[in-house]
């Protein structure tokens, strides 16, 4: 019996996870990721959290962070998570742009997608690869957050209940933050010929589109609302929020993801293989 859409989705998703853990390319990515996060944990997170925990209760410390524009770091109950949150808001989207740039383009250029589309629908393939990348992001978020949690508990063991609450808020929010970036890369990957092109386009969209929209909206103010479609548009506001308050902006990445997935699917269905 032919498997249905969700079975295909699961199988493709599993195969993407296998790609990360059992191929040389995937393992190289994991090792690089682990080294980067090791240094982030050892230096910025540890030192900053030590510094924050010492200064958090003093007015002198508060005014220093307000002065440098990082007063939002003090909004989190656990300083390690505060620093983690600010770092991950920058690093995970960047990693997402790089690691998700090859969802379909290399396979299409090589002809591997032909073997796959003889067996699964293009929808299953597009959404299966997207889901696979999101599961990988979730695993990486869990791992890094767990190590940060271990740091926090090592410093103060009675932080466990509060840490669990903050960790859950961070996981949910980071997944939401990464959804539109992954969807944007899925759409770009369905369009361009190489992962490098997809990355370049993502950087161009991310860097210049906001500027172009701002410029155009000065002539036609209605266009200003288009800025909401740029992945990461909400991140500066998001970094000012802490714990579950961060969900106040959840509608933005969800809306962006839906729009980008619809565009990506449309491209995928019409693309010649």
């Amino acid at each position: 019996m032919t498997p249905g859409f969700f079975n295909h989705l699961m199988l493709i998703c599993q195969f993407e996870i296998k790609r990360l853990f059992s191929t040389r390319k995937g393992l190289l990515y994991l090792i690089t990721f682990a080294i980067v996060w090791y240094f982030i944990l050892i230096y910025p997170i540890r030192f900053a959290s030590d510094f924050l925990s010492q200064r958090q209760n003093t007015s002198h410390g508060m005014s220093f962070f307000e002065f440098i524009g990082f007063d939002s770091l003090l909004n989190w109950e656990i300083p390690e998570f505060s620093v983690y949150w600010h770092f991950s808001l920058v690093i995970f989207p960047m990693l997402s742009i790089m690691s998700c740039s090859d969802q379909t383009c290399s396979d299409r250029e090589r002809g591997t997608l032909r073997f796959l589309t003889l067996r699964v629908s293009r929808d299953s393939l597009f959404f299966g690869r997207f889901a696979g990348m999101m599961v990988i992001h979730t695993l990486l978020i869990f791992t890094t957050l767990f190590t940060t949690l271990a740091f926090a508990i090592y410093r103060e063991a009675n932080l466990v209940p509060a840490a669990f609450n903050s960790a859950m808020a961070i996981i949910v929010n980071l997944i939401l933050v990464l959804l539109p970036f992954t969807a944007m890369m899925a759409a770009l990957s369905a369009t361009v010929k190489s992962p490098r092109q997809a990355t370049v386009w993502a950087i161009l969209i991310w860097s210049f589109l906001a500027g172009i929209i701002s410029l155009l909206s000065s002539y036609l103010p209605a266009l200003d609302s288009l800025i909401i479609l740029i992945p990461g548009y909400q991140m500066s506001e998001l970094s000012q929020l802490a714990e579950w308050q961060t969900l106040q902006l959840a509608h933005i990445p969800i809306l962006q993801t839906i729009v980008l997935l619809v565009i990506g699917r449309w491209i995928m269905l019409r693309q010649s293989l």
Partner: protein
């Protein structure tokens, strides 16, 4: 009555304004292998790509088993050897074929067994754990054929299946096709007309984006004249033409290529023309290389109305 598995109506495809397929109409019923031939750029790969769902036609309608190409219900029913498609170089061959089998609905265990079966069929069981980029062109082609054999597809579309294969593996692929027919219908696009002549009873000829269908061995039986093709060892063509033309019942004798002669004769006047010609060869102490009934497929398809006298 055998079911119709492919229906094309007014199918057209354009690349940058140039017609690769021009309103072609045809139907394919399940059964014996079907050859798809045509000169370079005739639209063979385009047609196969549309049938596989890799390309969207510019206009017209096409259905396979009553569904549009690429529909998920066709998963496992249709298999193909696409031209120039390669496996993912990051996974070994076994892992990828197992994955394809799983996508076709096989269990993990069935997928492992099926992977070994199809690799054995193309004599590549030893390459189970090898990466695709370590294979030669011919071996990669055989692996691509192996993926098309996974499960029990009802229709297999093969684009140049024997191009680049050595003679032993070409024969092996021919045996696989013969063994699976007619339960599985094959559509074979190839320039190797000898190969197609051996395997197929029906030929689809694509020329300048226009399709013609030809049933082999049917047209000659109904024709008032019949044909014989004679390939001689090096000899004087003038002598051969002169002597054979003297036989009763000869309608026309042509010499399309060096040492090759096509004899058109009337079976009503001389029903055993083959024996007459053999006797003629014997009497003149000539040597022949091959002597066969009918015209070669190449003659039938491409030179029917062009042969010089």
């Amino acid at each position: 009555m055998k079911p119709t598995i492919i229906q094309c109506q007014n199918l057209s495809h354009c690349y940058s304004g140039k017609n690769a397929l021009n309103k072609i109409n045809f139907e394919v019923v399940a059964g014996e292998p079907i050859g798809l031939v045509g000169p370079n750029g005739a639209g063979k790969t385009t047609l196969l790509s549309i049938l596989c769902g890799f390309l969207r036609p510019t206009s017209g309608a096409v259905t396979l088993f009553g569904h549009k190409p690429g529909a998920s219900v066709l998963s496992g029913k249709i298999a193909a050897l696409p031209q120039d498609a390669k496996l993912d170089p990051t996974f070994n061959i076994g892992e990828q074929l197992k994955f394809y089998a799983r996508l076709q609905g096989l269990t993990r265990k069935q997928a492992s067994i099926e992977t070994i079966r199809v690799l054995e069929a193309v004599a590549l069981k030893k390459s189970l754990y090898e990466k695709p980029d370590t294979l030669s062109h011919g071996m990669a082609k055989r692996v691509a054929i192996a993926q098309a054999l996974i499960g029990k597809p009802q229709l297999i579309l093969l684009d140049e299946p024997t191009a680049g294969l050595d003679p032993v593996n070409t024969r092996n692929i021919r045996s696989i096709i013969a063994e699976l027919s007619p339960e599985t219908t094959f559509i074979i696009s190839s320039h190797d007309l000898t190969e197609l002549g051996r395997l197929c009873q029906q030929i689809l000829l694509l020329e300048n984006g226009i399709m013609n269908t030809m049933q082999l061995n049917v047209s000659e039986k109904n024709s008032p004249t019949r044909f014989l093709t004679l390939q001689m060892e090096p000899c004087s063509a003038t002598d051969v033409i002169k002597k054979i033309n003297q036989l009763d019942g000869i309608v026309k004798l042509t010499n399309p290529q060096k040492n090759e002669f096509i004899v058109e004769y009337s079976p009503e006047i001389e029903s055993k023309m083959d024996i007459k010609i053999i006797n003629c060869i014997n009497e003149n102490n000539w040597q022949y290389r091959q002597f066969s009934q009918g015209k070669s497929l190449e003659e039938k398809l491409f030179f029917e109305n062009q042969n010089p006298e």
